[in-house]
């Protein structure tokens, strides 16, 4: 690990000031940052510990949930209102990492965690995300874990977060504060596509600190599920995952989808919300057939590579499964 100075921010203002310094990094739980600092993939000169700031609260308001940036992944997942009003988020969080890691990991840190692309993590290989314009060894490499949607000729690293998939599906908004004041960013705009600048991953400017995340809790959110498929039963990143929510109308005999919410994980270079699939589902009966059609639509543009072609069909089936569970009710 490279040398750095360590300071603890006593207030949000102090944190923003510290974070705006060159080569500074905020430290929350440390489970992503310290990991990558050990590998010397990240080499900040200045660590601003924000973990003691008063941003742990989880608030259930009439229109939605406010998750403090420092609420732990465990606390959010087990919060009774989160489980009742947005079960997909609780399930997504509980499917991620391990109990130990979730106790340390925070909402803000999860939003800003970096990819698990093996080439990004290995200094001996080429990676445009790590070193801009140096090349990408993943493109012709071992791509089992890589993205099939949203890649570019510079980078195909998959976005690793489960939490962000659930948040993307349900219109979450991220409140940040920086040297220029406070602003809100839609979760779907928070993560950037790699395009020609895979090193730029977030719509944040230097010094901007995540304060909280707001998720509106709609009828579709209350009837939502998260399904994750991975290489072992637990404690593994997603090969494919899906957050799905449905608002249904009509009696049990002739139910119709009023509104659908779908986002996929493990397949995109960012959490992959599909408005197109959601539109295709609206007005349809909640049947396997409509689910499958929407899944075909979502994955029509997939660009699989040598080792991850299986993800196309797996993603479709995972999506059908998540929608089926949502239709059955949580």
């Amino acid at each position: 690990m490279r040398h750095f100075t360590f300071e603890r921010a006593k207030s949000v203002d102090e944190a923003v000031k510290g974070g705006a310094q060159p080569e500074a990094a905020f430290l929350a739980g440390g489970t992503s940052l310290v990991d990558l600092m050990k590998l010397e993939v990240l080499t900040p000169l200045r660590i601003v510990d924000v973990s003691r700031l008063d941003l742990q609260k989880i608030e259930a308001r009439t229109g939605g949930l406010v998750l403090g940036a420092l609420a732990t992944n465990t606390d959010v997942a087990l919060h009774p209102e989160v489980r009742r009003r947005l079960p997909a988020l609780a399930e997504a969080l509980l499917s991620g990492a391990s109990p130990q890691l979730r106790n340390a990991a925070t909402v803000g840190g999860n939003l800003l965690q970096r990819t698990r692309c093996a080439y990004f993590r290995d200094l001996a290989t080429l990676c445009n995300k790590r070193t801009p314009r140096s090349g990408c060894d993943a493109l012709e490499g071992w791509t089992r874990m890589h993205a099939i949607l949203g890649g570019s000729n510079q980078c195909i690293a998959a976005h690793p977060s489960d939490m962000c998939v659930a948040l993307a599906a349900f219109d979450a908004r991220v409140k940040v504060r920086g040297p220029q004041g406070e602003r809100e960013i839609a979760l779907t705009d928070f993560h950037l596509l790699p395009e020609q600048h895979p090193d730029r991953e977030f719509a944040l400017s230097p010094g901007e600190l995540v304060i909280s995340v707001f998720v509106p809790t709609t009828a579709a959110a209350a009837r939502s599920r998260y399904v994750k498929v991975r290489d072992r039963a637990s404690y593994a990143f997603a090969l494919v995952s899906c957050a799905a929510g449905l608002e249904l109308s009509g009696g049990t005999s002739g139910r119709i989808i009023r509104e659908a919410r779908v986002a996929l994980g493990g397949v995109g270079t960012k959490p992959w919300r599909s408005i197109e699939a959601e539109r295709a589902l609206a007005g349809q009966p909640p049947t396997k057939d409509s689910f499958r059609k929407a899944a075909e639509l979502l994955l029509a543009g997939a660009q699989p590579r040598r080792d991850n072609a299986f993800k196309v069909e797996l993603a479709k089936r995972t999506m059908v499964r998540a929608l089926t569970l949502a239709a059955e009710g949580a």
Binding site: M1, R2, H3, F4, T5, F6, R8, L27, G29, G30, T31, V34, D35, M37, K38, L39, I47, D49, S51, T74, A97, S98, P99, Q100, L101, N103, A104, A233, S234, Y235
Partner: protein
């Protein structure tokens, strides 16, 4: 060599008239340009002959040896390292035990640390030969540099960190990079907490912080300043083992035992969390602790036993 340097908490600096090399335990070797400032501090102001310096973490010189031309550099290196080891040992013993041991517990601790230092002595010998090679190599390959630009050889500022470990407040001065795991193992000698992957992937380093289980390898010690930490050493009440420890013994819940401290702390936390009513819940709740020996069925049985 790095592990040994880390164990000693030292930075190694080698100066030659052409420049030198500085080696901190966790960094790549750093070339030093010829630096009169250094020569003043370490070599009476003159371009030094081969000079070896061990710096204590606070930047003070722990040891300095300069070769006179008559002696083989390798021999000097070995001598230097032996002397360093001796100095370090006396210092450590003085700091830890200012007065003779008063009771059985303290005697046991003393015996424990003596064992640890014995191993350290062994490490020093291998360090000596590794350094000898590194220095000879550096002397042969360091190109002469003309511009004389001073270069700081002093490590980062140390920071004060207080941890309440198993009910006892411990005051530490640490390199900010020290993880909670390394603070426990390297600085406090509490080696019950294990280092498996050092990347959050195995759970061997599980401890309780403020009553919650975390992987201590992915936390900086500084981040937990003032926090209560429970390690495997803090579970037994005198000779009486914690019920989870007893259950692991009775159910044969380990083979090599390397993952066991982490498993036990994780299991205790799991039962406190109250989400272990079925076998599947226990398996999921323990999924953050890997066991290469595959003692999983017996670990499950041990937890079941304590739960009921």
């Amino acid at each position: 060599m790095r592990a040994e340097l880390r164990g000693l908490g030292a930075t190694l600096v080698v100066l030659t008239p052409e420049g030198g090399v500085q080696l901190r335990p966790d960094d790549p070797p750093e070339r030093l340009r010829p630096a009169p400032k250094f020569w003043k501090t370490f070599a009476a102001g003159l371009p030094p002959a081969l000079t070896l310096i061990l710096l204590a973490p606070d930047g003070t010189v722990r040891l300095r040896r300069t070769s006179d031309d008559a002696v083989e550099p390798e021999a000097i290196l070995l001598k230097v390292l032996r002397a360093a080891g001796k100095a370090v040992r006396t210092q450590a013993a003085d700091a830890k035990h200012p007065a003779p041991a008063r009771n059985a517990l303290e005697r046991a601790r003393l015996a424990g640390s003596a064992r640890g230092l014995g191993r350290r002595e062994l490490l020093l010998t291998s360090l000596a030969s590794a350094i000898a090679l590194a220095v000879l190599d550096a002397c042969a390959t360091t190109p002469p540099i003309s511009e004389a630009k001073p270069n700081s050889a002093i490590g980062p500022d140390l920071i004060d960190v207080n941890l309440e470990i198993n009910g006892e407040t411990r005051k530490l001065r640490l390199d900010p990079r020290t993880t909670l795991l390394d603070a426990l193992r390297e600085n406090l000698g509490l080696t019950g907490t294990k280092k498996g992957c050092d990347l959050g992937q195995c759970g061997a380093c599980t401890v309780l912080v403020e009553g919650k289980r975390i992987d201590s390898c992915l936390a900086l010690a500084a981040q937990h300043d003032g926090h209560k930490v429970t390690t495997i050493e803090g579970l037994a009440d005198g000779p009486r083992l914690h019920p989870m420890q007893t259950a692991f013994l009775e159910e044969d819940a380990f083979q090599c035992g390397y993952c066991t401290p982490g498993q036990i702390l994780s299991a205790i936390a799991l039962l406190n969390e109250g989400r272990a009513s079925t076998d599947d819940e226990i398996r999921e709740g323990m999924s953050g602790n890997l066991c290469r020996c595959g003692a999983y069925p017996n670990i499950l049985a041990a937890i079941r036993r304590v739960r009921s």
